[in-house]
Symmetry: C2
Subunit: 380 residues, 2 copies
């Protein structure tokens, strides 16, 4: 186990009626609340009116239009509105994209610099506007972490940044608020959670016994509920367990004292930056090929994954190959198209992508350019 | 899964050199630090001098003498010293007893009432002196929770209380600081951790899939490392995993959205209140008999425990009996005497104990007086 420091101050309020605590939780911040939304799904699902009902005594301002793979161009507009309105707190109502965008508004509010500069130099953040969330998608874990991923569409860049100052003050987790997601959107969320766990679990750290088991537990739970929830979208218990897994997968609980990888996420960010595909789709396609590429370097953990998560028996090399196939099949059976061609992607930009990634030496074991190209080409 | 709210603001700093961050972490609270210690084990182990080395620029005051099963009589003396010294922060250096005592000093500092009144009415706490910890025993989890258990020896009472205001600001978790614990002290810690998990896991809540797996993971890890660590007391990896399990077992991570039990702890507190036996010893003796007493009411979870934690195969009723025996053997093999008679306890006070417990209806399923007596009598 490596040495580590951990602190996560976000309060989570989970359950069917959790949104009824909004007004109480917002007390103490002040009267002015700026709400940040995506396109219009919060209106269609009814979440919008349920949230508004709780804010009757407050002065509110709404910003609509954060897109999936949230763009800095849109965030600039929201920031302008925020500086004009001068809210006491920002309330993100949506999924990871809306929350990630809200984090950047929060962090850029006091810096005086452009949000894209904040993304690229988060050290300049010394103060942030408080933010809270009402979650509507189980996927990114952004509701209980200090990370954010932002796209600069004009430069075809998708960069992640972090600051402990943008942990949400609180997050309302109502599983019913995810009922309106389609089977495919739900499947993308499942893949995102699965991938978050693998990025933290598939490491070469020795002797982090409980961390390993907790990571395996999340994947085992996803394997148990994933195929059920996409066929039973309004099932409270399934939605609740999925939402719980999502939040637990990236709040730091399973990453204490272990090395992390994040190569798959880094490569996927390149795909999204060029093609704007759904994050979960990109991860589903890449993950089995990434596992195959690193299977020698992460041999022991891959064998453990095969045996403990998938219950496979046999020689290491055999169970590893079989576990990669099981992973592929799990994503495929969720209804996800499993090759890049399915998303209109060819190898045109692969060299550019790998050029941009290589200097950063992505992944725990620092993938070289050929390995990155192998993963991309085998994903076609 | 039940609805829930969760927030744990404690920062943990884990590793071989974690104590070197003490001065940095204490910055910002002020110059005056009051240190709280147990008897003299911190001096014998060398922890005392390592801690003092980090506090050279601060004005410190030391209080020595917190006993195992910490007594309110001792805490009153520490509180008097604190009110005289007026520290900016309290620093507990020790195990759960020292930390629990420090929490009560922290909470009583502003109330104006006697500490025992605070224990019995924690609602009166509206402000608390900040506290931090340097942990020297892996057992109670007090380093990352808001609970405290205090003994009133003159009344033979041992009561628990809680307040979110007494979460430690930070806790220094250096596994090397536990090397000096004997095999038996270490074993008592293992039992305490094991019992904490069972109290949260052995519930009748349905559909808390990940919570179940995380609880099982901690017990599986204890089963893996417990027998090794008591034979290899200076092994860093084993001590680190044990300390990590200890903190994770009672920081709220495995109790979100589930009912809890705590009957075993409640009965053990009665034993300690009358006989001052080690907490871990009392729990080891009681736990198998408690499991046996509730095996019908908690049938499904008991069968799951048997299969998942102990890998048993067969009919439910068979594997449940076998799992209880495995639990007993696990504690016994750690070197713990497994009957109350071994601790000089007879049935003299059993009726008193059960009288005091029954009105509180302890346990998730509310044990009646006969059940409590059954557990005590079968533990003789």
């Amino acid at each position: 186990m490596n040495d580590f420091t951990f602190k996560n101050p976000t309060k989570i309020i989970f359950g069917k009626d959790s949104h009824l605590q909004l007004a109480e939780e917002l007390k103490g911040y002040g009267k002015k609340v700026m709400l940040i939304f995506g396109k219009n799904s919060a209106k269609k699902s009814g979440v919008y009116s349920k949230v508004l009902d709780q804010l009757k005594d407050l002065e509110i301002k709404e910003f609509w239009g954060i897109e999936p793979n949230p763009r800095v161009e849109t965030i600039r507009k929201a920031l302008t509105l925020a500086k004009d309105f001068k809210p006491n707190i920002l309330l993100a109502v949506g999924g990871g994209s809306v929350i990630d965008a809200t984090k950047l508004i929060s962090a850029s509010y006091y810096t005086g610099s452009d949000p894209w500069e904040v993304v690229n130099d988060a050290n300049q953040i010394t103060k942030a506007l408080p933010l809270a969330t009402v979650l509507t998608v189980a996927a990114t874990g952004s509701e209980m972490d200090c990370y954010s991923v932002i796209t600069n569409w004009s430069e075809h860049k998708k960069n992640s940044w972090e600051s402990t100052l943008v942990y949400p003050q609180f997050s309302i987790l109502n599983p019913e608020f995810t009922y309106s997601l389609s089977a495919l959107q739900t499947a993308y969320g499942i893949v995102d959670i699965y991938s978050h766990v693998l990025e933290q679990y598939m490491n070469t750290t020795k002797n982090a016994l409980l961390q390993d088991r907790w990571a395996e537990s999340i994947i085992q739970t996803l394997i148990e509920i994933g195929p059920k929830v996409i066929k039973d979208l309004d099932n409270y218990n399934l939605r609740a367990n999925l939402m719980y897994c999502s939040t637990m997968a990236l709040n730091g609980f399973i990453s204490m004292g272990v090395s992390q990888d994040w190569a798959t996420h880094n490569i996927e960010h390149e795909l999204s930056a060029f093609y704007d595909i759904p994050h979960g789709a990109g991860l589903a396609v890449l993950t089995p090929h990434w596992l195959n590429e690193v299977k020698s370097q992460k041999h022991d953990k891959m064998a453990q994954y095969a045996r403990r998560v998938w219950g496979l028996k046999g020689e290491d090399d055999e169970v590893i190959i079989e576990a990669i196939a099981k992973t592929y099949d799990f994503f495929f059976d969720l209804g996800i198209a499993m090759s890049l061609k399915d998303y209109g992607i060819n190898d045109e930009h692969f060299k550019d992508m790998s050029d941009r990634l290589t200097p950063n030496k992505i992944g725990e074991i620092k993938l070289d350019q050929q390995q990155i190209l192998n993963i991309l080409n085998s994903s076609l």
